[in-house]
Structure formats: C-alpha cells, structure tokens
Symmetry: C2
Subunit: 243 residues, 2 copies
C-alpha cells in the first residue's frame, strides 16, 4: 500500500493510495489515533472513488461517527485503465438491449463477472487499511447501491469482517445465491419507479437476504432519485451497528 497524497479539510484527513495497482482513498478524522469502525463505500456505475455522492457519505461517517471510510475505483472506472473485455461486453450488451433484450439480466451478468475481480481487491484493501494504527481491526460496514450493490452482495457474503451493510437499487438476477449467504443486518434501498431495475427483482433480492435484521426502504422515483433523508437513515443504521 503506497500513499500518494494527503490533505485535510474541516476535520477530515483524506489520503490517496494505490494497492497492487488499485487506486483508492482513505478518510479518517484529523488526528485520529487507535482503532475505529471502517466503512467501505462502493461507487455506482460510471462513477469513481471520489464522486460527489461517495465523498459526501465518507465525510459524514468521519465527522458524525468518528469512523474511517475507504473507497477504491472499480475496474474501468476513475483512475483505472479501461478493460478491453469489459468494454467489449458493454458494447455487446448495448446492442442486445437495442435489439429488444431486457436490460436487467445483462447488467446482473456483467456485475457478477466484475465482482470476481473486485471481491478479492476489496478484501485486500481491508487487510491493508486495517493495519494502519489509526484505523485498526474494528468492525467493518459496507455502503453500496446500484453497481455498488451488484458488487457489494458477493463482497458482503464473502467477507466476515463486514458486520452491517447498506445495499439496494439492484436485483436478484445474478446475486440471489450470494444474498442467501448474507446474515448481517442490512438496510436495503429500493426506488419504486426504478427504470433500470424491475421492482420485482429488487424485492426478490431483498427477499433472498438471509439476515434476521433486514429493512427495506422504498421511495417513489427513478433509479437516481433516492431522497436525501435516506442518507441520514443509512448513517444512523451503520452507526447503530458499528458504533
């Protein structure tokens, strides 16, 4: 793990790093010392580790909860090079949708393929970040919707350090099997008029989670219209389970 820059503003220290070629960013409270809960933030499709939404979430976990937060670029996103195979499949999928195929199963299949790469990458990030004395081996939370859900479900299923997860805006098509291995508390977001993920598939993914505590929060609106008060709720949710 190699740190490439460090800045600080309004009580939040931000450090860019690379780990085996994966670019990431770590946020901690200024002058943090000792172990603390850590939230891994998965970004959405077409976004990156410092997209405004990701940054806003990270800062809240640091300033309101005293947690650490970390995000990395998904392959083909942010500061990572394009991946020829992924680009080819994405182009093929666009053509298949134009020819009348349903979008959701194609997205799900694509995300399952990318997850085979990101799950070990993200686990390695936890290994590295938790060795820092001002992060340490505290409980881990995960926050990711849309692409962050498609990649997050197999990650949360595989990673016992994760004690609670925010997921949603994703369907069961590819990840119901992984969902059935998730037993930690989950807060799951659904947009009632989601144009990308059919409502039934999103409900089916919630249904497939094996967690004894899992809460579905549904709101009217399209895929990107999650209300601001739901962010407040997810911060409280992870604070309650990790704090």
């Amino acid at each position: 793990m190699r740190f490439t820059s460090g800045t600080s503003s309004d009580g939040v220290r931000e450090q860019l790093f690379t780990l085996d070629g994966v670019p990431g960013v770590l946020w901690t409270p200024d002058a943090a010392a000792g172990p603390r809960p850590l939230v891994l933030l998965g970004h959405g499709g077409g976004q990156h580790k410092k997209a405004p939404d990701v940054l806003a979430r990270a800062r809240r976990f640091v300033t309101e909860c005293g947690f650490a937060a970390v995000a990395v670029d998904v392959p083909g996103h942010g500061d990572r090079p394009t991946v020829e195979e992924y680009d080819r499949i994405a182009t093929e999928n666009q053509a298949r949708v134009a020819a009348g195929e349903a979008l959701a199963p194609l997205i799900a299949g694509f995300q399952a393929m990318v997850a085979r790469q990101t799950v070990p990458e993200w686990r390695a990030v936890l290994d590295a970040v938790q060795q820092l004395p001002y992060v340490g081996a505290g409980p881990v939370g995960y926050w990711g919707v849309s692409l962050g859900c498609g990649l997050g479900v197999p990650f949360v299923a595989a990673e016992p350090r994760v004690r609670a997860a925010v997921l949603g805006l994703g369907g069961a098509a590819a990840s119901a099997g992984d969902a059935a291995r998730i037993t930690v508390p989950v807060e799951f977001l659904l947009q009632w008029d989601d144009e990308r993920v059919p409502r039934e598939q999103c409900l089916a993914l919630y249904d497939a989670l094996a967690s004894a505590e899992k809460t579905l929060h549904a709101n009217p609106g399209r895929h990107a219209d999650v209300p601001a008060f739901e962010l407040d709720s997810t911060v409280r949710f992870l604070a309650r389970h990790l704090g």
Copy 2:
C-alpha cells in the same frame, strides 16, 4: 369535552376525557403553554386508547418532541360499550373464514364500515383538543397501523389538518380509493411475513398513496413483530414534518 381525571409522571401530563360519549386521553408536557404539534394515535384491533404500545408512543412524542398526543377508544374497544352490529359481523366473519373465505377482504370491509363512524369522531376530537390553549391549532400528525391503518387512511384522506402520517400493516382491499386522496408525507410499515395482511395487498396500499413523499419500511416477521427501531424512525419522521 369533559375531563374526568388528570395525572402527571416523568414530565408527561395525562388527562382522560369524554367527548360526545367517546372516551379519550390527552398527553401533553407538564406545564405546557401555547400551541404545539399534535399527534393522533390510532390503536390496533382488540387494543384501546391506553394500550402499552400506544402509551409508549404518546410519551415519546411528548418527552422527545414537546408535542401533544391524543388517543380515543374505537367503537367496541376499551371503555366503550360493545356494538351489537359489529359483534354480529365479526362472528359472521369468523364463520366465513372457518368455511374457507380469505381473511383480508373481510377485515377490510369491516374496517371501512367502522371508519364511517370513527372519521367524524376523530375530527371532532381534533376540534376540541385544539381549542385548549396548551395544544392550539398547530400541525397534526397521525400514527396508526393495522386497525389504526384501516381507520387511519380514510381519516387522513378526509382531514386537511393532518400534515404527515405513519400507516401500515394494512391492505388496499377497502381503502385504495381513500389512499389515492392522501398527499401528505407518509411512512408506511410492512411486515414481510404478515400472516394477516397479504404482502401484495400491503404493497398495493403503499402504491395507491398519492403522496410525493412516501417511504415503505419493510421488515421480516409477522404482523405483530415490528422492530423497535421502527418506532424510533416514526418519531423522527413526525418530528421532521411537524416540528
């Protein structure tokens, strides 16, 4: 409106009253003066105005928010006399369920009939309570699930003083028409394994609400198993919209 008793404990003043033969209870902060938001609490089937759940909710709105809270007995419940017609229909419905009929439409039809009586009763309670100087004509919220939803949906639809409502554990069978006239923010509770209200009918009632802001909170478990953290959420929800 006639007050029949008044007590106080832990900062909460509790006054029993009757209004045109309807027994009720009003909770306000000790030494309250001036207008404040008011929450009307609808109780569940077989419960009454001072059932433990109702009491716990009322005290939280008073102590945490400084609101007033009011609850009355539904006909045939608590301190009200039995209603021969309702008893006869309930007995008939039990026989029809035993003979194989679906429970949910029978419940819905029964609640719609009772609502024709309770909507004007509850509106009269608002009229009376809001004339008290320590309650006043502030914004009104409604909190009711199960029977409190079946009776609450027509009430919230009819009463423009209600600015936000907690509803749920109820289905669309009887009240979809009323739900389509509700435009205030709603937090709607659903139990994923509800043995009394089919999931699809509960989702359909949420869907029927015309509110621009409406949030569905679903959790695993049976009708009576709403998690404690959802009460916290509903207190925050009404505080946000009325406070």
